[in-house]
Symmetry: C2
DNA sequence: TTGTAAGCGTTATCAC
DNA sequence: GTGATAACGCTTACAA
């Protein structure tokens, strides 16, 4: 019988069982190490489950993502993992996500929150607040009192971070100076330009907290060009801990996100839902933690060099 | 009829037509920006062709790659794109590749050469020799006479590079000092350690040519730790032009490879073969070019600072 | 030109 | 428990 190389025909099986064995992963840019790491995590899980991971790269374009959302259903994929599409929250795409989810498509979003009241939906995200607080404490204990914050597009996550920034300052009795709040897109160039705006301030900060490692590195490039010493004259903190963070000099202090696990858990969740073992929708939140490197003054150094808080 | 939302069932269609609409991409590590860029290129093409790209990450492990090679046939993918599996050429995997190809599976290899005499096979690769020669000319014109070469595992590509290194020196009447030839694995750490070995030489070189950007950056990290100025005391050149090359400081002079196009052309070739328009197997070679950045002395600088060739 | 029937390979069901 | 049969939805070939 099967002793001589028989293997079942997956198409026939798919036709009969209504299961294609395909899981789609939609990302804005595979080339971004953050999303590559998510893909890696998801791929490992699907491989072990003998499923195929279909890679969908939306090029950060709303129209392409929307197209995928529509096409994938027709392709009869068994499930979809969706990571947030670039900066701009997109109402049409959101509507499509809701539609898919309501039609019963196993669908897990990574790091994105659709309005919670409206839908129940599977979400895998990270504890942004905790990481942000840890980073702020690190800076505050380093003696900084004027800390610039570079935010990104106004997503739920971004709002959480900003709120934590504010409350961390308040908890120390410090006043939030709105002049120190900036916005940037999530690129190197964005960070570079924003840094120049920050340095134009009358009362310069002594530290910059960026929403993202790429932005933080853009900031550092600008600082280096201007001959401003990192961390002695300006400390910098990022978010994500992408590999660039430890390759750039000085190495970047950053809030690490468990990128690989984000992908892994999302895939596991999709599979659970496909196999119908999944008690309702759920939101999973993974821990973040601060990785202290060279771009910030450590407490002891700070005490030596900046007894009270570095002046501008 | 189709006016009200009908869409054909892909499984039934696949069963009938023996075409699943799936193309597999096997890479060692998606997280490596070189392979991520290839994936990006391939993905764009498959999207336009309304096909699905199945991502297979072998974790640089021979056993996993082998497993994919076997499983994908059973999954009835329409074609396979294969990028070289890490450092060690693997006879068993190579045998499987040949078997697949002979069984008529549309299969394109990126940057890897199976023994040419033995099989005809579709290959998309780059003009390593030309890029290497350009880089060597840049260094030689910069006044360098002692140039260390860090090679990787002995693949066909690596051999081409080394041969070009030798002939470039010979063309200038320079003698190849075998003490200046090193080997490293293709990682940051590999470059870091090899750099220490290079600096242990009695007669130090004034330039280092690394097989790969990650290795080159490892070299630069080691140099910086030891307080050796780049490029004044040591020039460094890499290969690939991954994004890290322009983010690291000093920015890295490197031979750019058209990574995205590698993926794009490979996908186009697979599709051509699937559609039976493909006149025999072919080898496509894409151009490479030198990107001069901060890690090497430019000609004019070199003349000022190193009239003849920097002494050790 | 339009319509009907058979078959792709699996799985599930039903009768034995 | 074992073995035949129907049905999944499409495609294509052939007949009307």
């Amino acid at each position: 019988m099967s002793s001589l190389g028989y293997s079942p025909n997956p198409s026939a099986r798919a036709l009969r069982s209504n299961k294609t064995g395909l899981i789609a992963l939609i990302v804005p840019e595979v080339v971004n190490p953050y999303f590559a790491a998510i893909a890696h995590g998801a791929q490992t899980v699907t491989r072990n489950a003998k499923l195929a991971l279909v890679l969908c790269n939306s090029e950060s374009e709303e129209s392409i993502e929307l197209d995928y959302l529509q096409t994938l259903e027709r392709k009869h994929v068994d499930g979809v993992i969706l990571t947030p599409p670039g900066p701009h929250p997109n109402p049409r795409a959101d509507a499509e996500i809701l539609r898919l989810s309501k039609r019963g498509m196993p669908l897990v979003c990574i790091g994105r929150r659709i309005r919670q009241d409206e839908v129940s939906m599977d979400i895998v995200t990270t504890d942004t607040g905790i990481g942000t607080r840890e980073a702020m404490r690190h800076l505050l204990e380093g003696g900084h009192t004027r800390i610039a914050y570079i935010g990104g597009p106004t997503t739920t996550i971004a709002q959480t971070r900003l709120a934590t920034y504010r409350s961390s300052l308040a908890a120390r009795g410090l006043i939030v100076d709105d002049d120190l709040l900036f916005n940037s897109d999530l690129t190197l160039e964005g960070g570079y330009q924003t840094c120049h705006r920050i340095l134009g301030l009358r009362k310069r900060p002594t530290a910059i907290f960026a929403v993202n490692d790429m932005v933080a590195i853009g900031v550092m490039i600008a600082l280096q060009e201007l001959g401003i010493a990192i961390p002695e004259e300006m400390s910098v903190v990022g978010f994500d801990d992408i590999p660039y963070a430890s390759v750039f000099r000085p190495t970047l202090t950053t809030v690490a996100q468990p990128k690989y696990d984000l992908g892994r858990l999302a895939a596991e969740r999709v599979i659970a839902r496909i196999e119908n073992r999944a008690a309702g929708h759920e939101i999973v939140s993974l821990p973040t933690h601060l990785v202290v490197r060279e771009s910030t003054l450590h407490l002891r150094q700070a005490m030596k060099q900046n007894p009270v808080g570095a002046g501008a």
